[in-house]
């Protein structure tokens, strides 16, 4: 009887472990559009904090809600990037670059430059020319 109980527990343990591993291994990426922002900061302050104050580590890996006036929109194979330019450096414009989720493409197409935009995105860091934001989505308020 005891043998049967131990065997059953063992089987349940193996199945449970296997299920947990499978679930973890195949877990999907977060839905960035649904995540709450960790930090809210203007695009200009974000850039200055990373560039002047060396605080990129405080923002990297976080969901950032930011507000600013973009000057350019880039389209690389259907992936759209809003560029908030704050200065000119050795290799061109420097500032904050926000690359958007494709679900925002329609709205971005009709967006006029030099008007204020609020967005939410995942910050992947500061590369000594730009603060890079990815998986961005527009916030409609």
């Amino acid at each position: 009887m005891l043998k049967k109980i131990i065997l059953s527990l063992l089987v349940i343990g193996i199945l449970g472990g296997g299920y947990a591993y499978f679930f973890m291994y195949n877990k999907s990426h977060p839905d960035y559009e649904d995540l709450d922002a960790d930090i809210t900061i203007s695009a200009q302050d974000l850039y200055l904090q990373c560039k002047e104050n060396g605080k990129a580590a405080e923002y990297t890996g976080k969901i950032i809600e930011t507000l600013g006036t973009p000057q350019e929109i880039e389209d690389n194979d259907g992936i759209k990037t809003l560029v908030f330019v704050f200065e000119e450096g050795m290799f061109g414009a420097e500032g904050v670059r926000a690359t958007f989720l494709p679900s925002n493409n329609n709205e971005l197409s009709s967006l006029s430059m030099n008007t204020q935009v609020r967005l939410k995105a995942f910050c992947t860091g500061y590369n000594e020319t730009d603060v890079v934001l990815e998986k961005a989505s527009l916030i409609r308020k």
């Binding site: 195949n26 877990k27 890996g61 290799f91 061109g92 860091g125 730009d130 890079v132 990815e134």
Partner: protein, 183 residues
């Protein structure tokens, strides 16, 4: 008059130097690891790169957290356990094109190139040599290359449990469309 001539000279020299620079902030780096156990692939499409035709200098700057994996768990392990991207957020390459004199910006078409330099990854710097192709176009250069990286050379420790899942030699494919810097 002399003062204005000097300013003009500086402006002309400045323009000619900048006219030789090509940059991108949306370069693509893909790495690929294949073992009988598992195939792992990741893409980074936010790569900064610059080429100076004047002296052949070529640089790349890569944010490690910009690498995207198909599986979220792999991405987590990559950042937290392998490249430790909180401690080493950037990877960069600084080098030069050995046969830079073969690149004629007025002659459209592909030019085979050899690049040498140093790659810093996970806080370790190693010499790197690679062959590549520079496709010269109007106001643009498309550059591509492939290098092999061995994680152990960069002190990237792979836990014993997954050591058979990750190749000892990882292929890294580089594709950048460098646009002429207009300044």
């Amino acid at each position: 008059m002399k003062k204005y001539s000097l300013i003009l000279l500086v402006l002309i020299m400045g323009t000619s130097v900048f006219a030789q620079k090509f940059v991108t902030k949306s370069g693509h780096i893909r790495f690929y690891s294949e073992t009988p156990m598992e195939t792992i692939e990741a893409n980074n499409k936010q790569v900064n790169s610059a080429y100076d035709h004047e002296n052949g200098a070529f640089v790349f700057k890569v944010l490690m957290k910009s690498f995207e994996f198909e599986k979220a768990l792999m991405q987590e392990h990559f950042n937290e356990n392998y490249v430790e991207s909180d401690d080493f957020p950037n990877s960069f390459f600084k080098g030069k094109i050995v046969n830079n004199e073969d690149i004629d910006l007025n002659k459209m078409g592909e030019v085979p190139v050899k690049v040498i330099g140093q790659l810093t990854l996970h806080g370790m710097t190693m010499d790197v040599e690679a062959d590549g192709i520079m496709d010269i176009q109007e106001n643009m250069i498309s550059a591509s290359s492939k290098i092999i990286i061995e994680p152990k050379e960069y002190d990237i420790k792979i836990p014993g449990a997954v050591v058979k899942n990750i190749a000892e030699e990882i292929e890294v494919f580089i594709n950048v469309d460098l646009k002429k810097l207009s300044k």
